[in-house]
Symmetry: C3
């Protein structure tokens, strides 16, 4: 539990705040566990349940705003994981981050947008935060969100 506090402390030290665990937008679960793998559903940049980053990169939103959106979506993902496994210290490793960027034609900095999320994983989890990644530019996202991301993480075995 001490290590978990440390992880949340690091989030606070970065000037960030874990949101409430996100409520799904449909007939699915935020998180499913299979063996020691956790699959996190597509997360959006939501604060107190409300979508706060809407629009396309390269049009309504610039790169910095896209990175902020990716970071907020990631924090929603961490909240979802915590609500499933109890504490974030039980994450052994982040395996995969997929980042879908709502992109206008000609916007090609999807990797830089995704770094908004990846850098937080590294800063908060250190070695365990080093993940593989996929970043693509999509035509639209649910609710017009700027960014959606999903995660796969490996967690400690159940006792």
């Amino acid at each position: 539990m001490i290590r978990d506090l440390q992880i949340e402390d690091r989030i606070t030290e970065l000037g960030l705040k874990m949101p409430d665990p996100p409520r799904p937008l449909g007939a699915y679960l935020p998180v499913v566990r299979v063996g020691n793998l956790i699959f996190v559903s597509g997360m959006l940049p939501r604060q107190e349940g409300k979508l706060v980053s809407v629009g396309k990169l390269g049009q309504e939103l610039n790169l910095k705003e896209g990175q902020d959106a990716a970071r907020l979506a990631l924090l929603n993902g961490l909240a979802a994981i915590k609500s499933e496994i109890g504490n974030l210290a039980a994450v052994r490793k982040f395996v995969r981050l997929s980042c879908y960027v709502n992109s206008t034609l000609g916007f090609i900095e999807q990797a830089q947008v995704a770094d908004g999320a990846s850098n937080i994983l590294l800063a908060v989890f250190g070695e365990a935060g080093r993940h593989s990644r996929v970043s693509v530019g999509v035509a639209e996202l649910p609710g017009g969100a700027a960014v959606e991301l999903d995660l796969i993480a490996e967690v400690e075995p159940r006792e």
Copy 2:
């Protein structure tokens, strides 16, 4: 086997019909098993092998038609799983449903489209049908399909 009949009975009771297992559109397999996980390839809304839902949500197709397309793509996925593992009762849990919606600019109801598939998983499989999900809006899909979806499921160990 009794439980398998029950699962297919539930599909029938919903007024639905399992299609024939889908033939791949290229040099790949419909389903690959690794350990107790089943990875289902991208499934399209096909009936007797033919694509029946073509076009973009927000343009040629409305929400209801998109949900029908998602449901049909899901049934193709169930047929693919059944052809691999013999009976659907051997599915322990659906882990992940990813739903790619062929979307015109401005169509942002990808989550509602995906519910067309998610609701069937819940109705047919109950607790085992509760899955994590990713829904995004894409620029185009193979053959102009309205929806594509892929699945990851956990199945019973081989005897």
Copy 3:
């Protein structure tokens, strides 16, 4: 090691060449291993680190050029796997290939583009190269790449 040489020989016999392992475009790893699964990050058509296939299918690039791009992205993926596990003969099975095709409106041959990668997996790895697949058409890709693909593979247990 003999089998590994055979695998690389087959790549050479096909007139292909493994590129250097790709350097990530951001704060992530090219490959993450969890248990016996290898998750390969989104790979682009890069040669000596430089993106060589840029543009949209159906506009700047034709189908043949898209298939070449998919093949080159795949070779980057194989180089990434080799740098992680030491030799490609330790791949037991390719589980999943996801192919994101930079598509103009109206281009619907994503499956044929992806075959550019799938056919190489089959030619080089034989039975172990038979994979499940997802192909979608996206609005944009990092750097304007024509194709991005990611892989999941099962490898031999560590000794």
